[in-house]
Structures are given as structure tokens and as C-alpha cells.
């Protein structure tokens, strides 16, 4: 742990999953008097990726975060594997906790689609907290 404060990495996407993960991450940061590093990553190999924030969403994110009063750092990155990018940031800031939003998925869906969340869970050196949006959402 660097200088006693804990660092929380949030895997963020501009949707409901990113939102719950972010809220929880900020909450945890308040509890531990730590800081939050928000990661928004994309594979960047399609023309359209809704999970990569545009300027407007990014602006909304930073204004929300500055209102929360927690120390925040927003990172955006592009690379072959979204999970690897989140893990790389977690390692770089020697994170104490990674918070991710999790999708509900049937076993078959899991088999077919693969999962960024799964790879983060398996690959992270620190604790990983997976949160889900409310069922009705």
C-alpha cells in the first residue's frame, strides 16, 4: 500500500453496469479514504463501440466525480484485450480493489460470449468486487 491510502480501480463503461461499479467504487474510496482510478477501455477494432465513452459522457463522468469529493483519475485506453487493460492499470497503481459491473448471463451465454469480467476475476492480484445493477434495470 502506497502512503497508507488505498487505491480503487473501477472498470467503467457508459452504461448501467459502469454506473453501479462507479458508485460502489466511490463508496469504497470514501470508506477507506482512498482514491479512485476509472478505466474505460476498448478493443477499438469495430467502427462502433458503445462501451467506449464519447466526449459528452466523459464530461458528465468527470463532473459527477468531482461532485463526489473523492480523488479521481480517469484513464482511457485501447488494446487487444479489455480485461488486460484494466489489469494493467490495477498493477500500475498497485490497486487494493478492482470494482466491475457484472452482467447476468445464463451458462450457455457465458460459454458463447466469453467475458471480460471473468478474465479480470481470474487475472487480478488484488480483491475484485463484482456488482450488479438492480434486477429491473
Amino acid at each position: 500500500m502506497n502512503d497508507g491510502a488505498s487505491t480503487i480501480v473501477v472498470g467503467w463503461t457508459p452504461d448501467e453496469f459502469g454506473e453501479v461499479a462507479l458508485h460502489r467504487g466511490v463508496e469504497e474510496a470514501r470508506l477507506r479514504a482512498g482514491r479512485v482510478v476509472v478505466v474505460n477501455a476498448t478493443r477499438g477494432d469495430a467502427l462502433v463501440d458503445d462501451r467506449y465513452a464519447d466526449e459528452e459522457q466523459l464530461a458528465r463522468l468527470t463532473s459527477e466525480l468531482s461532485a463526489s469529493g473523492v480523488e479521481v483519475d480517469v484513464r482511457r485506453s485501447m488494446g487487444a484485450d479489455v480485461a488486460d487493460q484494466v489489469l494493467a492499470v490495477a498493477e500500475e497503481v498497485s490497486a487494493d480493489l478492482v470494482v466491475i459491473g457484472l452482467r447476468r448471463r445464463s451458462p450457455v451465454g457465458k460459454l458463447l460470449m466469453g467475458s471480460v469480467a471473468q478474465r479480470i476475476l481470474l487475472g487480478a492480484d488484488c480483491a475484485v468486487l463484482a456488482v450488479k445493477p438492480p434486477a429491473q434495470a
Binding site: 476498448t42 478493443r43 477499438g44 477494432d45 469495430a46 467502427l47 462502433v48 463501440d49 458503445d50 467506449y52 464519447d54 485501447m78 488494446g79
Partner: protein, 517 residues
Amino acid sequence: MENLGLLMDGFGAVLTPENLLYAVIGVLLGTFVGVLPGIGPAMAVALLLPVTYGLEPISAFIMFAGIYYGGMYGGSTTAILLNTPGESASVMTALEGNRMARAGRAAQALATAAIGSFVAGTIGTLLVVFFAPALASVAVEIGAPSYFALMVLAMVMVTSVLGGSPLRGFIALFLGLTIGLVGLDLNTGQSRLSFDQPLLADRIDVVVVAVGIFALGEALWVAAHLRRSPAHVIPVGRPWMSRSDLKRSWGPWLRGTAYGFPFGALPAGGAEIPTFLSYITEKRIAARKGRDEFGEGAIEGVAGPEAANNASAAGTFVPLLALGLPVTATSAVMLAALQGYGIEPGPGLMTDQPELVWALLASLLIGNVLLLVLNLPLAPVWAKLLRIPRPQLYAGILFFAALGAYAANLQAFDLFLLLLLGLLGLMMRRFALPVLPLILGVILGPLMEFRLREAMAISGGDVSALWSEPLAVVIYVVVSIAVVAPFAVRRLRPTPAALAADANLTTEDTHAEEKVR
């Protein structure tokens, strides 16, 4: 009218279940490739060339016609929803269309583009029905010198008038002419540029050139720029438009058609100029009416250029069918397909192959209707295509490219050529050389040589025979104007590209994503 009777016969040929199926496949495939920037109808037709050797010519051309028009439709969808004009012809559509979409009027923008395309395509095709036979009956009288001059005209127009840089255009054109020279000289049996390779003496198959430049070149280029910041697509439901939108659209549709058709029908080709003119005109008219919404998403700015774009696409069938002169990449590849069937393109086409020509024209009209029926409800589905990851998409394209190049002659050597031409395609994209002049050079070059030889044989080798006909002289005057005019015009007026840059359009890597029709 005799022409209408022949057109009815054409409908009779197309309206069989089998041919209708090919029409549907064509428009779906065309829209598919049109929506995705970087790949276009020319590539789709090139990839399908070997497949169609097993098809009747009529069925194949019905499919190609669908792909051609479908590509136009698809391009406008991407331009409006993503602000990424898939082709230079959609730049003007993207300008106002994307602003409309951002203002929550995506459905109306798509609707006016689709219906405008339908109106312009239908009127344009009907004009082809009336003009092409008349032109062809005049054209059969044209002598070899004038015909040669016409081909020079088509090449010079496409090379210097379209596209940003005449120098780059001419480099591409001469590359194409050179590729077209490889192989045995058909008159004397000498081998040219074949480097003592018996396989090269056989000439390079047009399929291999087209697939290599369009498909492999694009795939390599995309592989070199695999990861790029993704954009957001503006969500849209089923396109629709209100009565007032319709009232504001029909004028621009008709004016756009009037601009587009002549530009397509003259062997000048290209939709850049008419779409630009249409945009400017609509802006001026709107300003005069005091209802200038240009800059905030004016429906007139989508309706006019989209109609001009499609009317020009229809117009290009006039030189293709009446003279055997293609002015777009897609029609050049279609001409190659004709040759593949052993059909001689040229003024005689309309009298030698009336069933084919009239079925093609009828299928253009039917394709237009199909597109309207398919595109209005399917727009949200097409938008989803933009999420396809490039590796998967281009892996599929490469598979078909290799299959097509191999199937053309069943020679492994062609795959080697394919790779070389693919690298050439990559280099052309890297240095922003336009692809259209090259493909035109490859396909028109040998035909042009044939006419030149014919003229020389008649005159006994006297070069002055080339300008012995008045028509040829007139054409050469036009050619010289065409070479000089762009320089003059560029000094007086901003180019469409400059205008687009002013409007902060995301034309990042336009040369890469520029799709050749």
C-alpha cells in the same frame, strides 16, 4: 414507345422467382457493403465475379444492379448515423444528415435519403431507358478514331476531374494501363511485360486485379490501422417523415436528380460535383425563403445531395450500356463481367444483347423498389453492422478474395499475383492514390488499344488519322479543357472537400475509407 415495350419485356425476364431472388440477394449484399466504410459495391461485385460464371448473365447482372444501388443506400445510412461518409459522394449527405441525427431527427434524415434515392434512382433509370438506346444508335456509326478519343475522354475525366489530386490520379491510371498491357499482344503474338513467365503471358485476369486492389489492399490497410477510437452510432427507430418534411423534400429530390443525372450520363462520372452543386443550391434557396436551417440539420441538405448521388449512379448506365464506357469502379467491374461472358461491350451491346440490357434496366427499377421496402424498416439492423469487429469481417473478405482469385483460373500463381496486387493496393491507400483510375486503366486499356490498332490499320499507320474525324477533334478539345479546368476552378471556388473540412466533418482517413463505387 418502343423502348417502353422493350422495358416491359425486361420486366418479364426479371420477374421470375429465381431472378427476383437474385435481386433481393443483390440489394441486401449491396446495402451490407455500403453500410461498412472501406468496402463497397465495387469490391462486392469483384468478389462475386467468379461465382457468377456459373450463373446466367441476366441473373448475374440483376444481382450486380442490386449491389450497385444497394451500396448507395447503405452509404447514406452510415453518413447520417455515424458522420463517416463511406464514399466521397456521401460527404454532402453527412454534413446535414448527421446534424439532423444529432438533433433527434435521424429517422427523418434516413427517410428523406431513402425516398430521395428511390425517386432519383427511378427517374434516372427511366431517363437511361430513353437516352441509352438513342445514344447507342448514334454511337454504332462512330469510327475507331472517335471511339478512341471517347475512351481517352472517359479516362481523363475520371482521373483529373474527380478526386483531389490530378497527379495522383494519373499515376494510378498509368499503373492500371501498365497492368493491362501485361501478356501476349493479341495482334502480333509478342509477349509484353511478361518477364518470360508463361503464366504472365496469359494476361493478368481482371478478377485477380480487382480483388487484389479492392479486397486485399483494403484488408491490409485496415490491418495496418486496426485499432481506432470507436464512435457512437446514433440510435434510430424505423425511418418516417411527416407531411411537412415531405413538402420540404420533394423539391430538392427533383433538383438533385436534375443535377445528378447529366453528370453521371456524360462520361465525366462521379457524384462529387452534382452533390456539391445540389447542396449549394438548396442552401441558397432555403436562405431566400428565409428558412435557412443549414448548419443545424436541414432536411433539404440531405434530400438534394442524396438524390443527386443516386441520379448520377443511374446516369452512369448511359455510357456503360450505349458506349461500353464505365466511369465508376463498380461499372468497370461489371464491364469485366460482361467480357467474362464473352459479350462485347460497346455500342452494339443494345442490339446484340437486348434481353440482357432491358432485363438489367428493369432490374434496376425493381431493385429500387426492393431497397425502399427493405431499407425503411431495416435501418436499425443495418446500423448494427457497424459493430462487427474488423478482424472477423476482414477474415471473411480475405477468404472470399483468395477463393475468387483462385477460382478464376484454378492457378496457384494467381494467388501470388493477388498478394502482389494487394500490396500495391495497400501502397496506393498509403499514398492516397485513387483506385478508380487504376481499375479503369486495367479494364479500358486493352479495349482502347484495340480501337487504336483498328484506326491505325485503316489509315495504314498514319497517326494523323486519330484526329481525322470532326467528333474526335471536338472530344480532344473537351479533354484539354477537362485537364485545364480543374486548376482554374480550384482557384475560384472551394472544393467540396474544403467545405467539408470547414464544417469539421470527421473525415479522418478519408482516403482510406473512401469507397469506390
